[in-house]
Subunit: 252 residues, 2 copies
């Protein structure tokens, strides 16, 4: 795979954007930087005209080929690398890195992994629930911890990706394919059931524990095979605990 074709692995995902003009501006900069895939997470597709106007005729095909998803997990299912963008500095989060550091991290993984770059709504950014699905967190460094205009945040990320790919070493060794978001979510779901079954998590702290487990596992670059193994272990575990429970209750 040549350097420039690595860009086809990337998709820009805009979650619940408020202004159609920003979708158009995102399409234009994505096209400027060689990225052709755009997904909008929303209940309905915004009006075409204000999007197309900001996209200009050169990036109009990105607007016409725009994929609409009603939920973020649906949009993310096929991706193995998911980068959330944020301006906020909250607790219980993955470590925030600059877009440049993120690009350095993902470059060797791009050849074998479809990658999503996720942006939240203009006013509030991605929610904690949205960020749960992201393995990497990108925050643009600013003078005053201030939040950027959405279209400009997309611009800076697309620029860093394009620049990073063009200036990357030719003999970079590609990293193997990682598990997709769909596979990871199935695994987390199994894990949660198992941990509930053994009463590891109190009723109130489910989110706390699951977020910690997600953050821990996000660092380990799980393959598709790894998620299968974990799921199998969980299933066996569930089966075994049920048997034990039945025995405890004395039921047949």
């Amino acid at each position: 795979m040549n350097k420039i074709s690595l860009l086809s692995q990337l998709t820009i995902i805009l979650v619940r954007p408020k202004y159609p003009g920003n979708i158009g501006a995102a399409a234009r900069i994505a096209w400027n930087m060689g990225i052709e895939n755009l997904i909008v997470v929303s209940d309905q597709l915004p009006e075409r005209e204000p999007m197309a106007q900001m996209a200009t005729h050169k990036a109009a095909h990105l607007i016409d080929n725009l994929r609409l998803c009603t939920t973020l997990p649906e949009a993310l299912a096929p991706f193995s690398i998911i980068i959330g963008t944020t301006a906020r500095r909250g607790r219980q989060r993955i470590i925030e890195r600059s877009p440049r550091e993120i690009v350095e991290t993902i470059l060797p993984q791009l050849e074998n992994n479809r990658t999503a770059l996720v942006f939240g709504p203009e006013d509030s950014g991605l929610t904690n629930e949205d960020l749960k699905h992201c393995q990497l967190l990108s925050a643009i460094p600013t003078a005053d911890f201030s939040s950027l205009n959405l279209a400009q945040a997309v611009a800076i990320h697309c620029y860093e990706i394009y620049y990073g790919i063009v200036h990357s070493q030719k003999d970079m060794l590609p990293a193997p394919r990682l598990a997709s978001s769909f596979e990871l979510e199935s695994m987390y779901s199994c894990l949660e059931k198992s941990l509930t079954q053994i009463d590891f998590m109190g009723e109130k702290s489910h989110t706390y524990w699951m977020n910690n487990i997600r953050q821990f596992l996000a660092q380990t670059k799980l393959s598709s095979k790894d998620t299968n193994i974990i799921r199998k272990i969980c299933r066996k575990f569930l089966l075994n605990s049920k048997t034990k429970n039945i025995n405890h209750n004395g039921a047949p």
Copy 2:
């Protein structure tokens, strides 16, 4: 001077912008990246409301303190380092560099030199006449030699400057103060008169020769003192040639 205060040396100049919203978006990203000075070159100040709306209340003071100049030379007069931004790849130009290379070049000079970053109108960019005043030319690398949305081009440049300054070496040796645009323009004017006087330039190729001389001298980092010396030489030269001409013509 500490690193962050270097940002006060920078000014964003928007030449004949068409959409007030883009001025607001430029103000917001400038503020995000610690740059507080904004100049608009135009016949009249655009309506405040659409500018302020895009600037958001956090960067509204940049809109209120916006300087309006009717010509680019008037706007540029106090600056010693002038960076023109362009998407086009023309002939007879200074070498285009990426914003990152530009930032590396200007970093040691920032402490002693006021620096202008100049952006052209949305549809056509800076003219050759505008670019004549620029010593450095910045072109954002794109996948298809395509032109960027103005507000996004401003964003990428402000981001590169902020990032470059924050990550610069602490013990960087500052370069000396260079001549201001006002001093340089006086010098070029003297030079042109002298070269005309000695018939160095044919009538048609004035622009050609002067652009070449500008490009050559732009690389030499002239100080205020240097421009004074060159001006003095030119004046002496003019005085001497006139005497000669008078002698040639045989007039008293």
